[in-house]
Amino acid sequence: AQTVTQSQPEMSVQEAETVTLSCTYDTSESDYYLFWYKQPPSRQMILVIRQEAYKQQNATENRFSVNFQKAAKSFSLKISDSQLGDAAMYFCASYGGATNKLIFGTGTLLAVQP
């Protein structure tokens, strides 16, 4: 079975600073993908970044990057130069080719202080 764990229910960061959101996962599959989704208050859930498990290189998308530690089953999200618009609930998720389902963590609520 797949599980995704986010141990930080809430985080706070000062504007322009860097913050790291933690995520660990467990899966028995060899072929899987990992995602970070962002859900702003009362707004649409959108994809932030995605990582193919077979790739060793960490994914990067502008100010967002991941630290993918496959052996440790860790998939953290780093947000650099935080902006007020980054304030949202962030969900880590995993998708396995055998189960064909996206499994979500419980989310981390990120506050950005001006």
Binding site: D31, I46, L47, E52, G97, L102, F104, G105, G107
Partner: protein, 115 residues
């Protein structure tokens, strides 16, 4: 933003009423999903579909039903709403055939309150 739409965005309804939550996407995606999300909590898959005339139950037991008569449309129906159905319902879609790397695109959600 992804081209996936949900109506209504908000719905307050009395116990026992029949309701249908609409979801449409214009991306031509084969796979569609319904998730249930309580405030500040994770998403739970309640239904999904691989294409027209395909519907499957998800991991979370739900008294709702779905249909997929057209590729772009995936409505969810509650025959008799109860207060326990109060939640947010998110619709999503993805392209079939991307293997394990499919990215799901989400609609804005429907917030349902059953009195």
């Amino acid at each position: 933003e992804a081209d996936i739409y949900q109506t209504p965005r908000y719905l307050v309804i009395g116990t026992g009423k029949k309701i249908t939550l609409e979801c449409s996407q214009t991306m031509g995606h084969d796979k569609m999903y319904w998730y249930q999300q309580d405030p500040g909590m994770e998403l739970h898959l309640i239904h999904y579909s691989y294409g027209v005339n395909s519907t499957e139950k998800g991991d979370l037991s739900s008294e709702s039903t779905v249909s997929r008569i057209r590729t772009e449309h995936f409505p969810l129906t509650l025959e008799s709403a109860r207060p326990s159905h109060t939640s947010q319902y998110l619709c999503a879609s993805s392209e079939l055939g991307q293997g394990a790397g499919e990215t799901q695109y989400f609609g804005p959600g429907t917030r349902l309150l059953v009195l």
